[in-house]
């Protein structure tokens, strides 16, 4: 009995927090999404499906998000895996900590400042100017999907590197000797042993980056210049500029649904793929 009381008391703060900060707002958003826009903006009670019927007008935001979030995740993975592999397996153990710190260092500066740096780099005075000086023409970089992708990969890379690094570092190196001993050349040992055993890290990294990217709005706003925008940007616009809260709520609900569907599909897929005991875990 006392044990139960203690458990209840210990769980109470988390329960209250989740109810107040997650469940309640979510209920509010769902309720709003069926409402109508008040004449001066905001919400007026109603029950209509009109907001959901209008979702098509924001299709471009969904399209961009659903293209660039997976693309950004994939690009992060392609860059992070070799880096994590190098850090965990090839790097001199004495240098490893230093190199890991170098991977985190960008995190110590606000993403806002780092994105400004990218605006300058990709803008007229940056890389395009360098290209022009070299006589290679003057490519347009800023305010393109490329710029958004570059920003995304730059910002989210550490989130991908660390889970993969951990799973590779935990890998028993004797398994690679066993694989070689049984006649497998190094590249096949990588495919048959290292890669499958690092899948839990890959799955965790992809999940972290993908979920955060689905809600991203800062990087597209700064590097996409209003031309490449995410659902997040549409939400900012609807809630803060046009003050159409019910429509914004409908877009938010749609985003949550899309996210749930994709993440569920993804988890099913990776679990089958990894086949290992380790469940896909979110840190």
């Amino acid at each position: 009995m006392r044990q139960r009381l203690r458990t209840t008391l210990l769980l109470a703060p988390a329960t209250v927090w989740l109810l107040a900060m997650l469940v309640l707002p979510l209920v509010v958003v769902v309720v709003f999404s069926f409402g109508a826009r008040a004449p001066a903006g905001g919400y007026s009670p109603a029950f209509t499906l009109e907001n959901f019927a209008n979702l098509g007008t924001r299709w471009a935001a969904f399209e961009n998000t659903l293209m660039l979030a997976p693309a950004g995740t994939a690009l992060c993975l392609l860059i992070a895996y070799p880096l994590a592999y190098y850090l965990a397996i090839k790097a001199d153990p004495k240098l490893r900590t230093l190199l890991l710190i170098l991977v985190i260092v960008p995190f110590w500066t606000s993403i806002l400042i780092r994105s400004y740096a990218w605006i300058y780099l990709l803008g007229g005075q940056g890389i395009p100017k360098l290209f022009a000086t070299l006589g290679l023409g003057s490519p347009r970089l800023i305010n393109t999907p490329f710029a958004v992708l570059a920003g995304i990969v730059y910002g989210y890379l550490p989130l991908m590197v660390f889970p993969i690094f951990v799973s590779l570092e935990r890998l028993d190196k004797r398994l690679l000797e066993a694989s070689a001993d049984l006649g497998s050349p190094p590249w096949r040992s990588f495919l048959q042993v290292t890669l499958p055993l690092s899948m839990p890290g890959v799955a965790t990294g992809c999940m972290l980056v993908f979920i955060l990217l689905m809600g991203e709005f800062l990087i597209p706003a700064m590097l996409g210049g209003g031309k490449v925008f995410f659902v997040g940007n549409a939400l900012v616009d609807l809630f803060l500029q046009s003050r159409n809260w019910p429509f914004g709520a409908a877009v938010a609900v749609a985003l949550v649904v899309v996210m749930l569907v994709t993440v569920t599909l993804y988890m099913r897929l990776t679990r089958r793929w990894a086949g290992a005991r380790d469940e896909v875990s979110l840190m």
Binding site: R174, E177, A178, L182, G183, S184, P196, L197, A276, R277
Partner: protein, 364 residues
């Protein structure tokens, strides 16, 4: 059994391995006979694992040569050597089933053998290690002993020229270890594959091997059958490592016709077979096995006091003490005790041995 007339299956020719300033293996010369059960025996850091890893291809010798079937394989990477290993902690693949672990080696072959063939071979290997039907299980569902069998099956399915076993029994409890030793020996006889076992357990090496290679500080000290090593150890180190032995220090008085006479403290004289390099006038040791000494109540022999007595069933082991020679062990058979009777701790008696029973060895 090993056939000495055939060409050796493998050879170390002056194999040396340095890690920086550390010499892990120094000028090792060893001929491995086709089909034999050979053990590398020695304490940790003696070079036995390094020698094994050079045969497997995980270490490239700094100097010297490794030969497999008369071919120099120094530069052949592990995945191209027809040699398989049972790793110390088995190193089974946790993401694969038992069957997929065992099939791993066959599936690396190019051209890849048909799956039906692989499946049949896996079933047969599981049968051989007495785990029939365990194929679909996961590795973590298997006990330590079962995992070892899986590791064994994963290696023997490839029919390697050499099967290398790196302290495979270390993680097993005593009872299981004993069962596994017998099983491994039987398996080796049936398969006819050359086994090389690395161990620091002298009993294990003595009971299982056709030959034992004793190592120390990266060097091979002596190679021979368990009986050779027991009866004719080259020096004190081997005599001490293989079986129990008593050592009496002294000065060599004379060497004649392969026999030496050693004068020990207190006027005790030991006459025995002279080992390599024993010369008159030098200090040496006499090695006497506990079963070569008898304890009696007569007047002849070295006077001793019984310190302790351990009943071992068929034998009784006495720890006795002589003021000059110190403490030593005597193993009395039941038969001998029937004549002389029991000795109680504190009792005095005489320790005797046959002339020529002892070995006079260089003290190193």
């Amino acid at each position: 059994m090993a056939d000495e007339t055939e060409t050796p299956i493998a050879e170390l020719r002056g194999a040396t391995k340095r890690f920086g300033a550390v010499v892990a293996a120094r000028d090792m010369h060893l001929t491995i006979r086709r089909g034999e059960f050979l053990s590398f025996l020695g304490p940790s850091g003696c070079g036995k694992t390094t020698a094994l890893r050079m045969l497997a291809g995980f270490e490239v010798p700094t100097e010297g040569e490794i030969l497999l079937d008369d071919q120099r394989v120094n530069d052949l990477p592990p995945h191209r050597r027809p040699v398989n290993m049972v790793f110390q902690h088995y190193a089974l693949f946790p993401h694969l089933t038992v069957a997929d672990n065992i099939a791993y080696g066959l599936r690396q072959r190019r051209p890849r053998p048909p799956e039906a063939e692989v499946g049949a071979a896996v079933a047969k290997a599981l049968e051989t290690v007495r785990l029939p039907g365990y194929g679909p299980r996961r590795i973590w569902e298997m006990s330590g002993g079962q995992q070892q069998r899986v590791a064994l099956a994963r290696a023997i399915i490839n029919e390697p020229k050499l099967l290398l076993l790196d302290e495979p029994m270390a993680a097993l409890d005593k009872k299981l270890r004993h069962d596994m030793q017998i099983e491994l020996q039987t398996l080796q006889r049936t398969l006819g594959i050359t086994f090389i076992l690395v161990t620091h357990d002298q009993e294990e090496a003595l009971s299982m091997s056709d030959r034992i290679c004793i190592m120390r500080d990266g060097q091979i000290v002596q190679v021979g059958s368990p009986r050779d090593l027991y009866d004719r150890p080259k020096n004190r180190y081997v005599a001490d490592f293989v079986g129990k032995s008593n050592f009496f220090e002294g000065t060599v008085r004379a060497v004649e016709g392969g026999s030496a006479r050693l004068d020990c403290a207190g006027g005790t004289v030991v006459v025995g077979h002279a080992g390599d390099g024993v010369m008159a006038g030098q200090s040496a040791i006499a090695s006497l096995r506990p079963e070569q000494i008898t304890l009696s109540r007569g007047d002849e022999g070295v006077p001793v006091t019984v310190v302790n007595r351990i009943f071992l069933g068929e034998h009784t082991e006495y720890l006795v003490r002589n003021p000059d020679l110190g403490q030593f062990l005597i193993l009395a058979s039941r038969q001998a005790e029937a004549g002389e009777g029991n000795f109680e701790p504190g009792e005095t008696g005489r320790a005797r041995w046959r002339d020529g029973a002892a070995l006079i060895l260089k003290n190193d």
